[in-house]
Amino acid sequence: MGVAVLGIMVAVRVFAPPASATSGMAAAARDFVSLSISVIIESLPFVFLGIVLSIGVQIWLPEGFLLRRLPRSPALRRPLLSLLGMLLPVCECGNVPLARGLIVKGLTVAESMTFVFAAPILNPVTIITTQQAFGGGNGILASRIAGGFVIANLIGWIYSRHPGQESLLTVQFQEECSLEDHAGGRNRRVQQSVQLFFRETNAMMPALFIGAAVAGLIQVGVPRDVLVAVGSDPVRSVLALMLLAFVVAVCSNVDAFFILSFGATFMPGSIVAFLVFGPMIDVKMLALLRTTFTAKTLLQLTLLAALCAAVLGLGINYVV
């Protein structure tokens, strides 16, 4: 069946209408499609990589391999988990399936939150690109690293005190967790890997495509000059760039280059708020995280991350 479906899709692509077919579309509609496709094409390899890593963690790593190496004390585990992105430099899209895999292997929900929020910031690619964009001397890089670390650990600590951690997860994902049974020989593990890929893509792909469409729509619909107009106000500039981070959904590996263009207009605290909040929460991430966390949890997480990033940004604007 797979070859038949593949054949149909290739035929659709080969016999698709020529470029002139879109000449009747409004320019904004064409750009909406182009921007949405761009989000998909850019994110897909990272999502695939995240799923492959998740398969590796869940099925191919020996039982307890990861958890045995982590400290027993939650207060030490969370800081260590927030540095896991140093070893697995996947951007935020790929971290969601990886975090799901880590939960299945025994991480608590709170610990997975610390990982998923810290890893896109505390990874070598993000650090290098931020350093290239802003340099190391003006405090933006240090504030981003420290801010990301502290906020991710704070969120993890808050949710570690939640009495019913499983209730933070969607029913579907709780069912996924209960399916975990990865004993067996090599052939059995290959089968399990394919089945896990099947389940993970079933959860991730619709979320990615919906998130990409929403991101494309907002990009076409919200004029940038509306946001830029508030750039010199210490409070509104922070809120405006956090809103921009939420809307544009740029990959954390390169968001520093993107926001550099606003560096002359916006205050430093707002730049840091953008660089810290964006990798944690944006429209695309919300769609992906919804595969795992309940809507109520996501709303709380969004407000919490936004509040922390805003406090960080305002602190820099007023104190520095």
Binding site: S34, E42, L179, T201, A203, M205, P206, Q219, F258
Partner: protein, 256 residues
């Protein structure tokens, strides 16, 4: 199992396959440059091939139909049935939209609508000042599109640019302040993907240009930098064209 349920069950791998076919086709035809930075080409194609193998393996290994006892044993419940119908319809809608956007519609670049939305030459990071300083006094025969825009926007000065000749190509975009006489030859600077594209452009003084060229069409302009004959316009220095030739969209429409 109904068709809707089948769609719901297989939506993940089918969407994967849509993405994989689109990626590999764009990779084979040079279309990836319309959406992402070239440094991601190899990674994107390699991950698409790995995903293709896993998708085909999923079709071969995973049972086509879900057994009723497998995961959802309460299908008799009305609310559950309704939810499944809705999810099935939603899955079909997402797949149809994905096939249309990624496989049916031809790939295209961003247009003047995005130039207007993001603002021409509004990005300082797209035009680093340090690079501009190096350009002044250098041999201009090898200047790129971005080099010329850097010089114009970062204050190389009318005196420096006066009389210098340039041949550039880009998207025809009307000037906001003097749309009857001036249009921009525009390109997008891309850092990661089209989402972060920032428009940059060079103003071309050509009264009545709209009768000859459509906005969003591609042109190659050979021209000389001069002071803007229309002193009321926003642009102090413009290109006075010798020739303007309509061209096809280049294989790499963005600048990096």
């Amino acid at each position: 199992m109904s068709f809707r349920q089948l769609l719901q069950r297989w939506r993940g791998v089918v969407l994967c396959l849509v993405g994989v076919v689109a990626t590999l086709w764009l990779g084979a035809t040079g279309g990836l440059a319309l959406y992402i930075h070239p440094r991601y080409f190899v990674f994107t194609v390699v991950m698409a091939v790995i995903a293709a193998v896993l998708v085909l393996a999923a079709f071969a290994i995973v049972p086509a139909r879900e057994h009723s006892h497998e995961r959802h044993g309460h299908e008799q419940a009305d609310s559950h049935q309704r939810r499944r119908r809705l999810t099935g319809a939603g899955s079909g809608l997402i797949i149809a939209a994905a096939v249309t956007a990624l496989l049916v519609l031809p790939p295209s670049t961003l247009s003047t609508a995005t130039v207007t939305q993001r603002g021409m030459n509004g990005s300082t990071s797209a035009l680093p000042k340090a690079d501009t300083a190096k350009l002044v006094g250098a041999d201009n025969s090898s200047f790129t599109f971005r080099d010329w825009v850097s010089l114009l926007q970062q204050g190389a000065g009318t005196q420096y640019l006066e009389g210098k000749q340039a041949t550039v190509s880009g998207l025809v975009t009307p000037d906001k302040s003097d749309p009857e006489n001036v249009f921009f030859v525009a390109r997008f600077v891309v850092t990661c993907c089209a989402v972060d594209a920032q428009p940059i452009g060079l103003p071309v003084y050509r009264p009545g240009w709209k009768t000859q060229f459509q906005p969003d069409s591609w042109v190659e302009v050979s021209a000389t930098f001069r002071a803007n004959p229309n002193t009321g316009g926003n642009e102090r220095t413009v290109l006075i064209p010798t020739t303007i030739i309509p061209i096809e969209r280049p294989a790499e429409p963005y600048v990096y």
